[in-house]
């Protein structure tokens, strides 16, 4: 095989890790609360700025800055549900999408107001690992590993813990669980905080690979939603697989054509798949 093509495939595999991590929290919220946070990647941006300021500006050690970012975005997630989703829960589903869309505008512009439109780099550069003849980005490798661990952890939490079981139960049947004494509100708030925390985790890994800027969500947002839907709503494993498929299309497409064109292919595939298998590729 062509060495550059091989590099594209490996690169796609690692990009898949990043996308899977991004899709993880969104998918959880999507599946449990049945709400699309269209501002999800903007929350990731908030986490990236948190890490940036704490680490690059105030000199807080990187792992500590990461923990802080996860906490900050988890609280933000809680606030999103409490302040924005809760008042519109009874409305048509599209209103919830729109309310978080308003938040998207707000977060992007507020970040522009506070930090300007400069691209900010955290200044950590992990040297690439040489694997035979190809270079593998260490930052992406770390992101890939954390995405796997994060997904595994979330899976175990949902399957094994009491709270996780309650979350899955609510997602199955909203009305009956309420009658059986499970507090829907508490579960929704918990889910939102976990979803936010996962966005914070994604932020810590993205900040190692990309510059922080207020509009980073425009490049990652749409593809993340498409991945969640492709994998089947709330289907963690499906979302994971969809992330890797999309990443390969983008990476290999970028090798043969151009990066924008490969995204066009990915979005076209999404449109076709929604018509062919609206319930997601991996559902039975």
């Amino acid at each position: 095989m062509d060495i550059f093509l091989l590099e594209a495939v490996v690169d796609g595999l690692l990009l898949g890790g990043v996308l899977a991590l991004l899709a993880l929290g969104l998918n959880l919220i999507f599946g449990v609360i049945d709400v699309v946070w269209i501002c999800y990647v903007e929350l990731v941006m908030c986490g990236m700025y948190t890490v940036y300021w704490l680490y690059a500006y105030y000199g807080v050690p990187f792992p500590l800055a990461c923990l802080a970012a996860i906490a900050v975005v988890a609280v933000l997630g809680l606030a999103v549900h409490r302040l924005i989703i809760e008042p519109v829960l009874g409305y048509a589903p599209i209103n919830q999408l729109l309310a978080t869309g308003g938040l998207l505008f707000f977060l992007q512009s507020f970040a522009t107001l506070l930090f300007g439109t400069d691209f900010r780099n955290i200044g950590i550069r992990l040297s690439p690992i040489e694997l035979g003849e190809i270079d593998v980005s260490k930052a992406r490798l770390v992101a890939f590993a954390v995405a796997l661990i994060g997904a595994g952890g979330l899976y175990l939490f949902l399957k094994k813990s009491f709270l996780g079981t309650a979350i899955r139960a609510i997602a199955e049947d909203r009305e009956v669980m309420g009658l059986m004494g499970v507090s829907q509100r508490g579960i929704y708030l918990t889910t939102s905080a976990i979803g936010g925390g996962l966005a914070g985790l994604a932020a810590c890994l993205l900040v190692l690979q990309y510059d922080v800027q207020p509009f980073i969500g425009n490049s990652f947002g749409p593809i993340t939603f498409m991945i969640c839907v492709l994998g089947g709503l709330g289907n963690m494993i499906g979302g994971f697989a969809a992330a890797f498929i999309m990443a390969q299309i983008i990476s290999i497409g970028g090798y043969y054509f151009s990066i924008e064109f490969s995204y066009v292919l990915a979005f076209l595939l999404f449109i076709v798949m929604i018509f062919v298998r609206p319930q997601g590729i991996f559902s039975r």
């Binding site: 729109l98 308003g102 512009s109 064109f261």
Partner: protein, 330 residues
């Protein structure tokens, strides 16, 4: 239509015709933008008010903006031909997305995401075709002030063109509103299966508004380019502009004739005044406030500005009636 509404409409129309004779160039510039965007938002609301919430109108707007501009720049084809071509292209695209969506009942946020993907496809294609379109840097159209090129040295002429197009948009909205199609579409958005079983051709009604909405949105995009004489993919296509369309229409009130235009008026005037107020020191301040207002609108006033005013005046009228009844029975 009541006599009062008719009188108000006539007075408003006369005022709009007088505007170019009395207003400054700056006010005229703002007014033209309000008319073009008001027209575009009205076009979106043709679908939006029946529960077909499209997040992909940036796709149609982008086609409308780029097709005539490219035909003019590269082949010297007049926009009088270029714009119909763009509208036809938007219609084809609307059918390609609309038909399977309606057939397979892709609704709610799935429909929003499918249309969002469509607008990304158009945006990224425009960026990817940078050798022709100029990519993210955008493209200036060759300036020739003439009717043939649909470019005018004087703002007042363009104002006239925009005013006529906007009025045509309102007439189309009104024709659909009084037609039997509206009843059918309202029934469909309430309960699609019940509507189908009572003999409504769900597919045909939905496709009809979708096609009209797409074609008019493309026309709005064309006008915008003809006026500004510059196109940029981020400005006319993609997620940001698609959301902007949805929000302005909802802020104004999408279930009423003038709601989307009021949305355009509201958002553009707000943006301009915040820009004047804060200047360039605080880039983003205007949109920060805009974002907060949007969230508040969705939570507290989902029927929009015009919807709220109508509701209030209806309540006031009912109150007056009750007072009159009480007085009569006394």
């Amino acid at each position: 239509m009541t006599a009062a509404a008719r009188l108000g409409g006539a007075a408003g129309l006369i005022a709009l015709v007088i505007v170019p004779f009395v207003a400054s160039q700056y006010v005229l510039h703002i007014a033209i933008q309000i008319l073009i965007w008001g027209f575009t938002y009205t076009a979106w609301s043709l679908m939006g008010r029946f529960g077909l919430t499209s997040f992909g109108h940036g796709a149609f707007l982008g086609i409308g903006a780029y097709v005539p501009a490219l035909l003019w720049n590269f082949y010297g084809v007049t926009p009088w031909l270029g714009i119909p071509v763009a509208m036809a292209a938007a219609v084809v695209m609307a059918l390609l997305i609309g038909y399977p969506s309606f057939r397979l009942r892709v609704v709610g946020h799935y429909f929003a995401l499918v249309t969002l993907a469509l607008s990304q496809v158009v945006l990224l294609s425009l960026v990817a075709g940078r050798e022709v379109t100029g990519g993210s840097l955008g493209m200036t159209i060759k300036v020739v002030h003439s009717w043939y090129a649909l470019q005018f040295g004087q703002k007042s002429v363009f104002y006239g063109v925009a005013l006529v197009v906007w009025l045509v948009g309102l007439v189309i909205w009104w024709r659909i509103d009084v037609g039997i199609g509206r009843v059918a579409l309202e029934a469909i958005s309430e309960d699609e299966i019940a509507a189908a079983s009572s003999g409504i051709n769900v597919m045909r009604e939905k496709l009809r508004v979708t096609v009209i909405s797409a074609a008019l949105t493309a026309l709005g995009g064309s006008l915008l380019t003809q006026y500004i004489q510059y196109v940029n993919p981020e400005v006319v296509s993609g997620v940001a502009v698609s959301l902007q369309i949805v929000f302005a229409a909802i802020a104004g009130g999408m279930g009423t004739l003038l709601g989307p235009t009021v949305g355009a008026l509201f958002t553009i005037v707000l943006n301009e005044s915040l820009r004047v107020l804060f200047g360039t020191h605080f880039i983003g301040a205007a949109n920060t406030i805009y974002g907060i207002l949007l969230i508040l609108f969705i939570i507290f006033m989902p029927q929009g500005i015009v919807g709220l005013i109508e509701g209030m005046s209806a309540r006031a009228a009912r109150g007056a009636d009750e007072a009159a009844d009480a007085a009569a029975t006394r």
